[in-house]
């Protein structure tokens, strides 16, 4: 199955991509996807960064199991305002 990953801010810059379509195994979690992505884009591993996780525009825990066509965002520390 495939999921769509959107990258923003520091992660977008480090990956050099705003959107990635990724083939993953059934049963993969958000944390599994993050591990795989860091292999594809080693620069995504920002030392000390605290990420939040969103699937289909809602915050989720990293153990959330992904479904086909989910939209996944790894949310770097927000700084609006």
């Amino acid at each position: 199955m495939t999921v769509k990953v959107k990258l923003f801010a520091i992660l977008r810059e480090r990956a050099g991509a705003a959107e990635v379509i990724k083939e993953i195994k059934e049963g993969s979690t958000v944390a599994d996807l993050w591990a795989v992505l860091q292999q594809d884009y080693p620069k995504l591993a920002v030392p000390g960064i605290r990420l939040l996780y969103a699937v289909n525009q809602d915050y989720v825990k990293p153990d959330r199991v992904l479904k086909n066509a989910d939209e996944v965002v790894f949310v770097p520390p927000v700084s609006g305002g």
Partner: protein, 143 residues
């Protein structure tokens, strides 16, 4: 009205949006771009959002404010893209029957924006740029 925009924000538009015959108060907040931060001379801020989720989170925090205080209406607009010194990056307006609720909900909204809404600011300062909140920046190489 809970919106992300790449255009300058118009306060009157927010005030009109929260105007309500039951309201005795409208509180507003404007976040502006200052020329210094932690000893750095700031040239501009550059905001980026995950727009669909940012608007959803703004709407959610509006609903939360409604549970906590007796407010009539709330409007929040956050700007994305480059924002120059002195320009507003965010505006909030809240109306309520009595002023306490409007002030409290307005304060709550800006604190929640800074905590949960997927919007990021990059500070462009003299000598470099940095994504605020990540402790990760790099000197600009403008040679």
């Amino acid at each position: 009205m809970f919106r992300v925009t790449d255009k300058p924000i118009n306060l009157q538009e927010l005030v009109d949006c929260v105007t309500d015959p039951k309201a005795g108060a409208i509180a507003t907040f404007i976040g502006t771009t200052r020329n210094n931060n932690e000893g750095r001379k700031v040239i501009a801020l550059d905001y980026e959002a995950y727009p669909e989720m940012a608007e959803k989170e703004l709407t959610r925090l509006g609903e939360e404010a409604r549970k906590k205080w007796q407010i009539c209406r709330m409007a929040i607009v956050h700007r994305v893209g480059p924002v120059q010194i002195t320009e507003p990056s965010v505006m909030i307006a809240v109306s309520s029957a009595h002023r306490e609720a409007a002030f409290a909900a307005c304060r709550f909204a800006i604190e929640e924006i800074k905590r949960t809404v997927p919007i990021w600011k990059k500070e462009v300062y003299e000598g470099g740029e940095i994504w605020i909140g990540t402790q990760s920046g790099q000197p600009l190489n403008r040679s």
